[in-house]
Symmetry: C2
Subunit: 114 residues, 2 copies
DNA sequence: GGAAAGCACTTTGTATAACAAAGTACTTTG
DNA sequence: CAAAGTACTTTGTTATACAAAGTGCTTTCC
């Protein structure tokens, strides 16, 4: 199925954005696992592919923004990998938030400038 | 010179974003040429690389969002390629604006949700 | 108790864009 | 006439989002 230019653009626009979403989410949450994030985001209107999120979480752990731990819930079932924010992640979030806000502001100023 | 994770992330975040900036700019402007855009954006705090902008403008013309025309100013000098918005570009701008706004809204709702 | 469905994560291949740096080609300045 | 400036192009590198298929385990249901 071929994609329109608009759809392709949307994909590009999400680069980097998803990382920020994960950091913001984890800044509010104790520890969550991948599928849970997937479902939460979907509820909020952000439909992310599995093959996007899991590698994303791995990368974010590799560069030190996240910590992870395998856990198998006593009650039942499957082992899950729980992610939480590292100190570096919490610190990184600040300038990332600012960068996003700055971009938004620039966009507005471009839109409004003669 | 090696880049920090944050710098790498910033580069990713600009994917797609720059296209939107160009469309917004051209929606306000008769016809502008590449270097002019580069300078305007820089004034607004958006420092874009030449090797990013020129190929971007070409791509945008190829997929029908922009029109271009070579012109050599009578007064003097170098031929310049002037870009303007096509009808498709003007139409495309609307959903793109919405998508960006929607992303921003989702981000806020992630930040605020328990 | 065995097949099917579901859970949770991983892996592979494809497409695309931003950047840095070097290159082209012309024009103005000193 | 050389040097600096204007304007655009090209090449190679690095990254990420996605789709689709794959792995391996657990619960459900006849």
């Amino acid at each position: 199925m071929n994609k329109t230019n608009l759809q392709k653009w949307s994909i590009q626009l999400r680069k980097g954005f998803l990382e920020l979403c994960v950091l913001e989410h984890l800044a509010r949450q104790e520890a969550v696992y991948g599928l849970e994030i997937l479902q939460r985001f979907k509820q909020q209107g952000l439909d992310v592919n599995e093959g996007t999120l899991y590698p994303l979480l791995n990368r974010m752990e590799q560069n030190g923004w996240l910590l992870s731990e395998w856990q198998t819930p006593a009650a039942s079932g499957h082992p899950r990998r729980f992610y939480s924010l590292s100190d570096a992640g919490r610190e990184g979030l600040v300038p990332m938030r600012e960068e996003y806000a700055s971009n938004t502001k620039i966009l507005t100023s471009i839109r409004e400038s003669k």
